[in-house]
Amino acid sequence: MNGVTHSYGNARAVDDVTLEVKAGELVALLGPSGCGKTTLLRIVAGFIRQSAGQVVIGDRAIDDLPPNMREVGIVFQNYALFPHMTVAENIAYGLVARGVNKADQRARVAEMLATVRMEGFADRKPRQLSGGQQQRIALARALAIQPRILLLDEPFAALDKNLRLDMQIEIKRLQQQFGLTAILVTHDQEEAMSIADRIAVMNRGKIEQLGSPIAIYDEPATPFVNSFIGSSNILDGVVEDGRIRLSVGATLPCSLQNLPQGRPVQVSIRPEQLMLVREAAPDRFPVTLTLSLPIGGQLIHDVAAADGTTIKVATARHPGAVSSLSGTWHCALTPEAKPSVFPLPPT
């Protein structure tokens, strides 16, 4: 995708997006609703003609091709199986449109059913299947035509949580097994984190950051990416002698160079980058513990700093961990923590 832009009236739904998806790679377009990710997917599929820019598959621009000539496979959130056709007819639909002969159709349908582990369902109607089964058939239907690129439009959103994980694993398995090139549109960061090779975080029609899931989580490029991915404590501070003095009362080393003296900054610290200790130190700040919740393998502590800022701290839940709410605690960075620093405009 090269400088793709699309406007609805005056609103720019997709604003000058350039994105390269490598062969065999799964890229997630991640963002809140209305960020332009679905529009971008529909442009690739050919359902929307972009106002400007180019979409290239292989080394061929496909902008002038109608959707039926693009050889893309698409899987929708609501499955969009043809309700009046059987499972086999649904899977064979793209093959029939391509004039594949009957014998090859049957063979391919059987092969696809085996691929998505749905043998024996060929003669069912879509309404006789559960959501997860329908999604598998939708996937089989899209893959039957051997698409050059697989587009996944929020494919897991309608599934319940346990099933969602199964389907994510399933799609990842198929994607690796067939070396599929795929674009996944989602607003669910965990989903993007778990199955994408790279994530493009989108906001207001632009890609804010493109990178591996780990890079996006550990080194968010913008405050938006930081707040959208994972949970995070945002603390205000100012630069002082190359360090950052936080308003909660601690001084931290600054990861950014060349910030002028007195420049206001925001520091983002993930809950798991903090720990609670009894002893005071210059790079720690005093807090009062208000609540501790055991969530899975973690304890989430809700603490308040001296100036009233509430902060979340996540620690491993093991015997001898923080057990008492009373007394004075100090918040400290874990040894490997690298908080992200975002400069604010000078006041």
Binding site: A45, G46, F47, P66, P67, N68, M69, R70, E71, V72, G73, I74, F76, N78, A80, F82, P83, H84, Y93, G94, A97, R98, K125, R127, R141, A142, I145
Partner: protein, 277 residues
């Protein structure tokens, strides 16, 4: 079966009205048709025998059925593409289209029918255009022909076909069409394999309405069709009001009723095969 009792009582007011004003007269009509003399003194099936043994009357039944089917065919041919266009249009365009679609229903039958006389007549709009363009040397004969009548009925009955068709089509998941396109199907294949089968329930509702109302469109049939074309409604009127042969008019009426009913049942039967879920 408490719910059944409640349901029954809710239907009672209209049921009683129908019983008194619809079912009872119908039984009377059936009774009249079973008399063999005009003074209704003698019971007999003479008039039924007279109707069905005469090729002319059987021809009238056949013509009426054919008119209804032709109207269904003509409206379908134009309604389906328009419904597809309607569903693909913006909300604004849909509003304007809906107004245009409803327009025939907002004018009285008599005015609509006389408007068609102006259009179809020897010196009417169509003939003026045809002569001006040199498509024909002599004016076409449209009034008092089946072609002209079907043309007029098509416009008059169009909303009955379009409204159910559009309402079903609007309920279709737009992703289905996108899925079909992405899988390699062109516009025509997508229409015939996806849109058409899935919109059949709407078409059957529309076709039923159009068929029933075209078969019984007395005013259009007699004003545009004239005296040359005889259909069951005008035959009934002639027998009842001109000839005063009430038993025979009753035979024609009951025949019309069951003819239309047979057509409607046939469409419903088709509908059972068009279940999409």
């Amino acid at each position: 079966m408490r719910t059944a009792a409640v349901d029954w009582r809710l239907a009672a007011p209209l049921g009683i009205v129908y019983l008194a004003l619809f079912a009872a007269p119908l039984l009377l009509l059936l009774g009249i048709s079973l008399h063999s003399d005009q003074d209704l003194q003698q019971w007999g099936v003479d008039n039924w025998v007279k109707f069905w043994s005469d090729a002319f009357y059987r021809g009238v039944v056949w013509d009426t059925l054919r008119l209804g089917l032709a109207a269904v065919l003509a409206t379908s041919l134009f309604a389906w593409p328009l419904a597809v266009f309607f569903c693909a249009s913006s909300a604004r365009t849909q509003k304007i289209l809906l107004f245009i679609i409803l327009l025939p229903l907002l004018t009285s039958v008599v005015i609509r029918t006389f408007a068609w006389i102006v259009i179809l007549a020897r010196e009417g709009l169509i003939n003026q255009a045809v002569l001006a363009l040199g498509l024909s040397a002599t004016p076409l004969r449209l009034l008092q022909t089946e072609t002209g009548l079907i043309l007029a009925l098509m416009q008059i009955e169009m909303p009955l076909m379009l409204l159910p068709l559009i309402s079903v089509m609007r309920g279709l998941d737009p992703n289905l069409l996108d899925a079909s396109r992405a899988l390699g199907a062109g516009h025509w294949r997508s229409f015939f394999r996806v849109i058409l089968p899935l919109s059949l329930p709407g078409w059957i509702a529309g076709a039923t309405l159009v068929f029933a109302s075209a078969c019984t469109a007395f005013i259009s049939q007699s004003v545009i069709g004239g005296a040359r074309l005889v259909y069951l409604p005008s035959l009934i009127w002639q027998q009842a009001m001109v000839v005063y042969d009430w038993p025979f008019a009753a035979v024609c009426s009951v025949t019309l009723l069951f003819t239309v009913l047979a057509g409607v049942m046939m469409l419903n039967w088709l509908g059972r095969y068009a279940r999409t879920d």
